[in-house]
Amino acid sequence: MACESGSRLTVRLLALATVVLWLCACPGRVAALEERIEDLSASVEVASIFSLGLSRTSLAFNNVSPGKTQILGEGRGFNEIRCRSNSGRPWYLKAQLVSLTHVQGAHHLPAASLKWKIVDSTGNGEPVGGRSDFHEFSEQPALIYASQGDDDRGHEVILRFQYSLSAPLDALAGNYIGQIVFTMAETP
């Protein structure tokens, strides 16, 4: 009787040990079978934007007397430049005055006769020299604005300009024509 009881106990212990071993051997199998996974790739190519736009491309100063100054765009400004880049790299806006030449001869007005001022900006940077004063044009490309912060992530930066022309006292009478070139570049 005692032998049979011991035998049953042995059997139960062996069975229990077998089950424990079996469960320990395959826990991952139990968990993994509870779910299935499928992955798909997603992709997009975001286009590159690097643009410069200018409104009102003709600056006409009328009848400026020698020694006098005339301003275009008093108040909110004369025209605006729109710059946009999403390259993620800094960009720079430069300006130069190619010439202000008398239409009937070789006489020039000095580049410094014409000045610019940024009166308003939507960018994160500040115009070179600030917004309160006019700055002389140069015959060489000169920096007028450098992008800051999110300016190079696709935000459009709008710069509103005023211009002033001061005719020298010794300026010859007549019409003068010149060309202002704005350049947007990733090199300063």
Binding site: I49, N86, R153
Partner: protein, 179 residues
């Protein structure tokens, strides 16, 4: 002699049938039956069409598949006998180097299913998230091995201010019996 052999054999069989070895084998077999988890035969497959949005301008919006159509078909099946769930997630934002497109700009929509279960957000785009979003809850009789097809379309709205580049990510479908 032959009668003795028969008697010996009968005794052996009787001893084998009622002996400790048999009881052990029976006990182990019964325990394994009880302890064996109900293995759910879950099956999940897709048509393996990647989400290729191509070239897009900042600010542009593009859907993969027009309204009423689909881009991806997911097939789910279970013989587990219990309710199953399909979930969807975006493992990480669409990323290009250090730049990324926010989760909320990428959406998914169930356009159709042949199942009788519940589409959690029918007929509307939902933003992706890294946390799996519940898409579908199986209905009656859908845990008997019958395949259920669920069709998806996708939407990407590029922010106005987004740095150019090639962005990539992975979306994940999860079929599970855990809500």
């Amino acid at each position: 002699m032959s009668g003795g052999v028969v008697e010996w054999r009968s005794g052996t069989v009787r001893r084998l049938a009622t002996g400790p070895l048999c009881r052990f084998a029976t006990a182990v077999w019964c325990c394994l039956l009880v302890a064996t988890p109900a293995f759910a035969a879950l099956e999940l497959s897709t048509d393996h069409r990647s989400l290729f949005f191509g070239l897009m301008q900042p600010g542009e919006e593009k859907a993969l598949a027009q309204s009423g159509s689909f881009h991806t078909e997911v097939t789910c099946a279970s013989t587990g006998g219990v309710t199953w769930y399909l979930k969807i997630s975006l493992l990480q934002p669409l990323t290009s180097g250090a730049e990324s497109i926010p989760f909320e700009n990428v959406g998914w929509q169930v356009t159709r299913t042949d199942g009788n279960g519940t589409v959690v957000t029918p007929n509307q785009f939902q933003s992706f998230s890294a946390t799996p979003n519940l898409v579908y809850i199986s209905g009656p009789g859908e845990a008997d091995g019958r395949p259920v097809r669920i069709q998806f379309r996708y939407l990407l709205k590029l922010p106005e201010a987004q740095v150019s580049g090639a962005y990539q990510a992975n979306i994940r479908f999860t079929l599970t019996e855990v809500l």
